[in-house]
């Protein structure tokens, strides 16, 4: 657990984790979520909510992402790390609140064929949480209106890679518009690249 706490601290130091956001991880089948308003740069193990079936968690300590994160863990068994990021271009894209499609092949490979956007009341609405999780299928990121993006992975390193690649992808979509507009990659090719990357990466991980 110490390792995970250190990784969260590092992500906060690097600015990958949004201020006032929460991170979560799963270890040995148990989910951990950082408490509301945790100082992520100086996180300690006491700042973690341990989620068990019989847990009696006070709503006062739950971060706003709590139920969304737990739903993600529930629906995606391979996800073991979740962060919310609000770096410059991701934040801008979340304000625009529209689906982002890949203009760069590394987004297609790592993040998926697109990143969908959900309204900001997703944090308080069970039905919208269900929709949000279905919007994340085969993707490693989800835009949340005015709140940046949630990025996921099998590890915090994977979630960070998704966040970094998605930030560059958003910057590309935004800034290429000043040059007359960027060109999107064909969705079928995006899907193919994502599939090949997943197969290659899972093979490497096994090695």
């Amino acid at each position: 657990m110490k390792d995970a706490v250190n990784e969260i601290r590092k992500l906060a130091e690097k600015g990958v984790l949004a201020e006032n956001s929460a991170a979560a991880f799963r270890k040995d089948g148990v989910c951990y979520v950082t408490v509301r308003n945790a100082d992520l740069k100086n996180l300690t193990e006491t700042d973690l909510i341990v989620v068990r079936d019989d847990s009696d968690v006070s709503p006062d300590v739950m971060p706003k992402e709590y139920f969304l994160y737990l739903a993600i863990f529930e629906i995606f068994p391979k996800v073991s790390a979740i962060i919310r990021t609000s770096t410059e271009s991701i934040r801008t894209a979340s304000i625009v609140n529209r689906k982002v499609r890949p203009m760069l092949d590394d987004m297609a490979q790592i993040v998926g064929v697109s990143v969908r956007s959900v309204d900001e009341d997703v944090f308080e609405n069970a039905q919208k949480i269900v929709k949000a999780t279905s919007a994340m299928k085969d993707r490693t990121a989800l835009l949340i209106q005015n709140n940046g993006a949630v990025c996921v992975g099998a590890t915090f390193d994977d979630a960070e890679v998704s966040a970094v690649v998605f930030e560059k992808a958003c910057k590309t979509v935004i800034e290429s518009s000043f040059l007359g507009g960027g060109r999107y990659i064909n969705p079928i090719e995006c899907w193919l690249m994502h599939l090949v990357y997943k197969l290659k990466y899972s093979k490497q991980a096994k090695k």
């Binding site: 934040r91 625009v96 092949d105 910057k171 040059l179 960027g182």
Partner: protein
């Protein structure tokens, strides 16, 4: 140059590539010419920080045979084509650097701003789009960079070539700054503004998109 010297140059360049933010994780690739027929090139899918000289593959650019512990980069054909085209090219780096990627996604060739012309020449061309590792990407990128310092690879990244690895890095850094300047100028022209900051950019972009 010996194979060992070339391998060491590639290992050091890999660490620098990540350190300077030109690539992340295992993306991008680097090669160094050994002689007319052989180059040292980064392996496929290995993190730069963990590479040792023994991990660097030696590739024959004529028959594409290779020696080494790991398979060479998936973009090896691109590297081979660039070296085969010009004997004076001694180092090649392929990056996924941010500002160059913006230009690559716009599939635009750029006129290089005055400040960077001594390093990059007058123009950086954009190669046509092709899937990573494909013949189309290889041929198009090799043609776009031939006789020049750098080229964009559409929707993918950039490639910089030079007579030394040091110069290839200088060119990659100059390319990033040149692209940033081109993007800023385009923004200011488009919105008829004189200032640039992330806040101003966001304000205009959001206003534009939400109309």
């Amino acid at each position: 140059m010996t194979a060992e010297e070339a391998r060491k140059i590639v290992v050091d360049a890999g660490i620098r590539l990540v350190g300077e933010g030109l690539v992340a994780r295992t993306w991008g690739n680097i090669s160094q010419r050994i002689d007319e027929k052989h180059i040292a090139i980064t392996p496929s899918g290995r993190p730069y920080e963990l590479l040792t000289a023994e991990d660097i593959a030696i590739l024959n650019i004529e028959d594409m045979s290779w020696e080494g512990r790991y398979k060479p980069s998936g973009e090896r054909k691109l590297h081979a084509a660039i070296y085969a085209d010009d004997i004076n090219v001694k180092a090649v780096i392929h990056t996924h650097q941010t500002n160059a990627s913006v230009c690559a996604a716009a599939r635009k060739s750029i006129a290089v701003p005055e400040t960077y012309r001594s390093l990059l020449g007058d123009e950086v061309l954009c190669a046509p789009y092709g899937l990573p590792g494909s013949k189309k990407l290889t041929k198009g990128s090799a043609a776009a960079v031939k006789g020049r310092a750098a080229a964009f690879m559409a929707n993918h990244g950039a490639v910089c070539i030079a007579a030394t690895m040091e110069q290839a890095f200088e060119r990659a850094a100059a390319l990033e700054k040149a692209c940033e300047e081109v993007i800023r100028e385009a923004f200011c022209r488009l919105y008829d503004v004189r200032e640039w900051s992330p806040e101003i950019l966001r304000e205009y972009y959001v206003k534009d998109q939400c109309v």
